[in-house]
Symmetry: D2
């Protein structure tokens, strides 16, 4: 398929086809606020390296990006700390979602990668130790990268997560007991829940992550977000660890670096070509958007473009 591919018509076709199938899966209901979203919303946006933007469905609706925010937090920490950050968090896939507590113990509190909850908490802890006001600093980083001053955190969702986040509290206190959290676990959790509660549209997501697509990306502040080498490494981590224990499956079927969130969002990218974001709230049994996964698999099959 040539690069003069008709992205819009391919997207329309696949979107229509998937909308005809039953909308399967469960909406994330363990966070009360998250469960209030309309399960039938579905949108996709694609942005090319040369700035063209294509959209279909509810691609201008805001939603809670949840774990996708971990890519931003990681980028911010990597920019600040450089490679020294890797002594506190690894870059290996974690194997299963269920053994993260076990693995942490075996690994002396060093989480396998920055995209499992344990790893993202350690990244949050780094940001707290290295910024004046971490929530402000994170939001400011996201706004700059997205070139969009209208990004915000949903305090309601952050509060809702905090109320029921017993497992995350367990995780953070456990890492603290193993010596890999510097700050008060309570403070780390508060920041973590806020970070996860940032809201974006599919369109904003694609704008945000162009720094991972374009080797020569310059932000609106006239600066690089990170070095080319750093960007490539974040792509590598997304490929091997971006979808929990469905990461291998995503790499196998879609063949792009990406990251999902329990809000139903998925962002993926083809280096040097495009960034794509899909959103649909119903999740498959691995916790990734059902329709989002289907769309992306069909899209790379149809366009015959992947990193492999």
């Amino acid at each position: 398929m040539s690069e003069k591919i008709e992205y819009q018509s391919v997207m329309n076709k696949l979107f229509g086809r998937i909308c005809k199938d039953e909308n399967k899966g469960q909406i994330a209901d363990y966070i009360p606020e998250l469960s209030k979203v309309d399960p039938n919303l579905f949108g996709v946006c694609l942005r090319t390296i040369d700035g063209r933007v294509y959209g279909v469905g509810d691609w201008n609706e805001k939603f809670s990006i949840q774990s996708i925010s971990k890519v931003l937090a990681l980028s911010m920490a990597y920019k600040i700390l450089g490679d020294e950050m890797w002594c506190r968090v690894g870059v290996e896939p974690s194997g299963t979602p269920f053994n993260s507590l076990l693995q942490l113990e075996a690994d002396n509190g060093i989480p396998r990668n920055p995209f499992i909850n344990a790893g993202a908490m350690v990244v949050c802890d780094m940001l707290i130790s290295n910024t004046e006001n971490p929530v402000e600093a994170f939001l400011s980083f996201a706004r700059t990268v997205c070139a969009n001053p209208n990004l915000n955190i949903s305090e309601k969702i952050a509060e809702s997560e905090k109320l029921v986040g017993f497992r995350n509290k367990a995780l953070c206190n456990f890492i603290k007991s193993l010596g890999n959290i510097e700050n008060d676990p309570e403070e780390v959790l508060n920041f973590y829940f806020k970070m996860c509660s940032i809201e974006m549209t599919c369109k904003e997501l694609t704008a945000t992550f162009m720094y991972l697509v374009d080797d020569n990306y310059i932000g609106e502040d006239g600066q690089r977000v990170m070095t080319m080498s750093q960007a490539k490494r974040i792509n590598a981590i997304m490929l091997t660890c971006g979808f929990y224990d469905e990461s291998g499956e995503f790499s196998f079927k879609v063949g792009l670096p990406g990251k999902s969130g329990v809000g139903g969002g998925i962002v993926a990218l083809l280096p040097d070509k495009y960034c794509i974001a899909a959103w649909s709230p119903r999740l498959n049994e691995k916790g990734n958007s059902s329709r989002g996964m289907k769309f992306l698999e069909a899209f790379t099959t149809e366009t015959q473009m992947s990193i492999f």
Copy 2:
């Protein structure tokens, strides 16, 4: 870096630099025959999609490719069985080398991926069930793919592995007890040890795996080895699972799909561009060739070409 890159001079430079460093690491000594190899041998070969071949050091020495052979066995099974094979083996990274027995139980005998020993044994079991004489058939497949009738199995090494392979015997009997081995475990192990004992030079390795580099690859028998989609999927599995629990690290630092063996060989490839094979017997603590890993990391850094 342009594609008119001077591969040979880059290879010479990096090879010279690495040879100056201390040759660290341990040779695999748990298989008596393997430990007899000269630890100072070191070679690299690169073959481009348009057929140019570059070599440095001991790139024409035969060595035991060990686990690299799992890519061949997987390709052969995938060609025969198609996607139905994935009901018996997964495509997810396994997390750690140490928990494979534990994971097998949790996963009802379905190994995480075809590159951990458990997974390769299930692939061997598939080949036994689907060929007349599996050892002959496997060797014939390898010779055809490599376009080289001189490939052979070292019976000495296969015997040596069998004598000390208690852990592999444990693994194979365990999978059998969980219902995912059809044939006699003894027979599966015999085939497995022979498959691992095939010998190649770096040059032969690059010839062998061109079908994973070139979307339009036609073998010497005038046929495709597998569909383009199948080849891309094997690349995806190599990227996420090719280096045991150093897979994320390899993806992070090198950024290419690849596969290592305890004989000290590593093969990696940049789709649509080249296949590269490095060999040096001393292994790092994760069981991958120390000098091979260093060379490949330096090579993609220097050439600034990776899949990301």
Copy 3:
């Protein structure tokens, strides 16, 4: 309840009561030969320290004592090696049946206790290293302790177990790979399967284990089987480890040291008072005789005698 307790009438009453209940549970069917036994057989025998013997039901039927034989093997090894044996096997409960492979790895091949399969295999390995003909020696030990030359091994059952014992083969090879088996795993397994296939009646079982009841027990050869201290320690291990992951439950509900086998036999004892053996082939979900467990719980409740 006084010690002038009417054992026979209590046994008759409880036996009758339990026979009225549905005979629940599954017969062990993973060993083909074992599954051929009549599931409605049910017998109990009690032997007091002063030699009185009481029986009810099928207490004179031979059956495969299976894991109960591990107490004999342990006693024999303890007698030969003394406390030095404890550097190769522990005396701690194992927690779960499912993690024995995992635990072995964490514990460097030292099984938790001599009653899990892994531990019994290490004990068998000790006996092979310390006797001329281990099968003969073991049988001779059992006959002496029981004062009964008619004890025999069922070769049929041993063969049947060997044919399907993939998990045990896995276990034994795994311990070998971890360095805690001295002999050929094949030889250890052959002995292990024979040891487990010794057959006894309930009456013979109670005769066999009087050396654990009576501090001053002298065998028919005029010698002690083991020191008093050794006997007490075997009782202690039976209490904490005799019923796999139902050991705590048995201690809680029955309050006696004991050992079960998948053939449906259970032996238990009240030091200084009596030995009791119950047999009924249907097993509960933990792999212990359903009716046997029920009888023993009712018996200690009714007689109000336990070690606590």
Copy 4:
């Protein structure tokens, strides 16, 4: 050894012998307040069923009984809830100290037994749900059982534990996330830390636990603490689970039901005969009092009296 045993002279002899050996092991230093105790204190008290009391060394010094208090909490919950409590906590040994988080997940939040931290927290949660003021109620229960109004909680130690108890916070939030904590984890932890911080002397400990020695025990309020059957069952749990992953070892070497605490206290008992309490702050690598363990092993060896 006859029961007219000279307890005092045996105790004096063993005490003297052990005092001559080096006082090995580490004092529990993870709780700052606990680490302030004099490591050379050492006392033992024995109380017979007929009320004679023997003591040696520092047997009238108060210390933090820590996990020994779990026996009291369990007794109180068992008295209130009866056998229905066992649907929320098991009676099986836990295998290892290290996998409690793992086991909890596998067991759906049902802790293995009431003596591991997870189990004691569930017991605390039961007491909170079933009493007006749980701290008051617990203290009142302890005072009644001990017939001693001077028992108190050290608020200092409770506070000290709370400040550093990240792992316990992790554990409690984890059980909450698995659905087996009814109340706010914060409240459960506060009660748990206070319960553990009750202080007693060796003499008071032996008085407290006579209800587990004497089948006919009547408290100072003229009432039984619990039924005979309940008391026997608590003894059974102490035997199989009282010393974490050294429980089998204690049963093997000492042969008595007992419970240890990281404050260096151990209480053990021979049903129908006596209760014994030993205290010395230095702990062995399993977290149990070094001198306490040595004393009790020597004591049952010397007196030749155990439950086996």
